[in-house]
């Protein structure tokens, strides 16, 4: 791999109205709406726009409901109920409006939605890899410059305003620069290299860069989220387990309070856990079967999941299906002028509250906030004017001076993962466990900062994981109750005196503090 010790030929040096960092659904919709608003757009993606990110690797539900209909009211009420007091119904309604509008446009453009037996066009599930390929082609046709395999590593800042980013082409090591009037962070969540499906690239560099520019976070407490997968596989598609029975090694049926993840988590506390999809009717089975990635492990391992028990595990999903992310306002602006955030990179309590937004809520949120961020970024760029490329911009991150190597990188990553991935750390939290994690992660953060001579991309990934882990733990320590996917063993009950959001941030000194929920203020 190339890095700072192997200087490569220079890559592109570009000027654009809007730079979008991250090419999943949020980034693609951001780029599309900025382009439609007349902006020149560069889209930089760590992997390949079309296959990268959590959406590409499977189907995602999305909430398609007619505005002001009974179905819409029901969908909003469901979100409010599941969010356990932190969902903003007005935001959810606005998100669903945008989804309705944009999915209708996708259909008009020729995206092949399926028809149900009665001839209705079904728009409640997107096949990620096709959805993203379709958006990619739309962007290319519209003149958006796409930089594939091009992780952004540092933001550029001019007089307190974000002015673009620098990164590296990971195939060649060539550095690239985009000077932009506005920048959208759509780099997804952080899953700490847990192995959850589609998350290899989701290590939090977007968060880290934004924090270095002064942005804050919210919802990092609601991150105790794990996906069920057949053991040793990557396929954390939890939907099929709605129709599962769970068993211990002796074949005894497992039951527990809560949802299917709770049953598996409690079972794994006592031994191995097995599942069988024995509650699925033939018609439901045919629905599952049409999701090819769900069945790839079963078909390739020779398992019939409807009649045979197979071993399962839980894999940590961090802020990908948890809710923490960059704090944004109504138009997706972060705390830092010129910087916007969308999709899983943004905090999602208003959409998903205290429970996982995995599936429909997150996919809807990505489409809507992506669209809004592109529009807002294009408007911001118009305000800055065409001469923005001449600004004197610098990176806010301190220069790397460390002496680490690849072995050190692996050791620091393992140290971070030990404090975040185990069920005993993030599924079953405790005050004492969080305190221990907090101390260990301070060391990991310092060690990550010392990885200067290793691969620049690996170094930034490791630093971002350490930073995100610290915001998670600091935020969890400020929520002295259990609510949704924050489960505190020594405070197992909800306390409605703590019905607030927890903001966090900081680099060498991390902070976390509660604030009133926006929708609660609006309701007063």
């Amino acid at each position: 791999m190339s890095g700072p010790t192997h200087p490569a030929a220079a890559g592109p040096d570009l000027v654009a109205d809007v730079l979008v960092i991250g090419g999943g659904p949020a980034g693609c919709w951001a780029a599309l709406s900025a382009m439609e608003a007349g902006a020149s757009v560069v889209l930089a993606e760590k992997g390949y726009v079309g296959t990268a990110g959590a959406t590409a690797a499977g189907n995602s539900s999305i909430v398609y409901t007619l505005p002001a209909s009974a179905g819409r009211e029901k969908a909003i009420a469901q979100r409010v109920a599941r969010g356990l007091g932190l969902v903003a119904a007005d935001t959810v309604d606005r998100v669903f409006d945008e989804v309705y509008r944009q999915l209708n446009r996708l259909a008009d453009w020729g995206y092949g939605f399926p028809k149900t037996e009665d001839g209705t066009s079904y728009r409640g599930s997107m096949r990620g890899v096709d959805y993203l390929r379709f958006l990619r082609q739309r962007l290319v046709k519209g003149g958006v410059r796409i930089l594939d395999q091009s992780p952004a590593l540092d933001l550029l800042v001019a007089d307190g305003v974000v002015a673009g980013a620098r990164g590296s082409d990971r195939r060649t090591g060539a550095p690239w620069t985009v000077r932009s009037a506005a920048t959208v962070i759509a780099s997804g969540g952080c899953a700490f290299l847990s192995g959850a499906l589609g998350t290899r690239n989701l290590t939090g560099e977007g968060y880290l860069m934004a924090a270095e520019a002064g942005a804050r976070f919210s919802g990092m407490d609601f991150t105790g989220q794990y996906g069920i997968a057949p053991r040793h596989t990557s396929v954390t598609k939890g939907i099929i387990y709605f129709w599962a029975s769970f068993f211990d090694e002796a074949g005894a049926r497992l039951e527990s309070k809560g949802d299917r993840q709770d049953i598996v988590a409690n079972g794994l506390g006592r031994g191995r856990v097995f599942a069988m999809l024995d509650k699925a009717s033939p018609r439901v089975q045919s629905g599952m079967r049409s999701q090819a990635n769900i069945f790839a492990p079963f078909d390739r391992l020779g398992i019939d999941p409807f009649t045979q028990r197979f071993e399962v595990e839980l894999i940590y999903e961090g802020t990908v299906r948890g809710n923490g992310g960059l704090l944004i306002g109504r138009d997706t602006a972060t705390d830092v002028p010129g910087l916007f955030a969308a999709g899983d990179a943004a905090a999602r309590e208003e959409m998903a509250g205290a429970t996982s937004g995995g599936g429909g809520p997150n996919a809807s949120w990505a489409l809507a906030t992506g669209t809004w961020s592109g529009r807002a970024a294009a408007a911001f760029a118009r305000g800055i004017g065409a001469a923005h490329g001449d600004r004197r911009a610098a990176t806010p991150a301190p220069a790397a001076e460390g002496r680490g190597d690849a072995a050190d990188t692996a050791a620091v990553r393992a140290a971070i993962q030990r404090e975040i991935l185990p069920l005993g750390r993030s599924f079953f939290r405790s005050t004492a466990g969080l305190e221990a994690a907090s101390g260990a992660l301070e060391t990991a953060w310092r060690d990550a900062g010392a990885l200067g001579r290793t691969d620049a991309i690996a170094r930034r990934e490791t630093q971002a994981m350490a930073a995100t882990a610290r915001w998670i733990v600091a935020s969890a320590r400020r929520r002295g109750e259990s609510r949704g996917i924050h489960r505190l063993a020594d405070r197992p009950a909800r306390d409605d005196g703590q019905l607030h959001r927890i903001l966090s941030g900081g680099l060498d000194r991390v902070f976390a503090a509660p604030v009133g929920a926006r929708h609660m203020e609006a309701a007063e």
């Binding site: 992997g47 390949y48 079309g50 296959t51 990268a52 990110g53 590409a56 690797a57 189907n59 539900s61 469901q78 995206y111 092949g112 939605f113 399926p114 028809k115 149900t116 079904y122 409640g124 599930s125 096949r127 890899v129 096709d130 390929r133 379709f134 594939d148 395999q149 990971r170 195939r171 192995g195 499906l197 589609g198 998350t199 290899r200 690239n201 057949p230 040793h232 596989t233 990557s234 396929v235 939907i239 709605f242 009717s281 018609r283 439901v284 045919s286 629905g287 599952m288 079967r289 049409s290 999701q291 090819a292 990635n293 069945f295 790839a296 492990p297 078909d299 390739r300 391992l301 599936g359």
Partner: protein, 110 residues
């Protein structure tokens, strides 16, 4: 993780090198690409979809090696099976109109 680049099937288009989300492959002059960074493979199966020659095979095991035999994969109908099940042909997207996922959602309010 990715286990096979079939040298007999590969047409050296290098689409997998370009489209892998994790930059796992390296192109090789006048030869099939090599699996250069296997540990980075996220076991998403998407390279199989983008391969126009059904020359790639991803084991569903994400955290350990799983050596495969090409003839055995062919005999079991597994080579190219992900693309076939998705409905893609020659690395071209097709099949979303045949997605029966909605049948799951008829059954319960998820």
């Amino acid at each position: 993780m990715i286990e096979l680049v079939s040298e007999s099937r590969c047409i050296q288009c290098n689409i997998c090198v370009k489209a892998c989300p994790d930059n796992v492959f390296d192109a090789v002059e006048a030869a099939a690409p090599v699996i250069a960074r296997k540990a980075d493979c996220q076991t998403c199966f998407l390279c199989e979809l983008y391969c126009p020659a059904d020359a790639l095979f991803v084991s569903p095991l994400r955290d350990r090696d799983d050596p495969v035999d090409e003839a055995d994969l062919v005999a079991r109908g597994l080579l190219g099976s992900f693309a076939r099940n998705m409905g893609w042909k020659n690395a071209k997207p097709r099949g979303t109109d045949k997605d029966l996922t909605y049948r799951m959602f008829e059954d319960r309010d998820i």
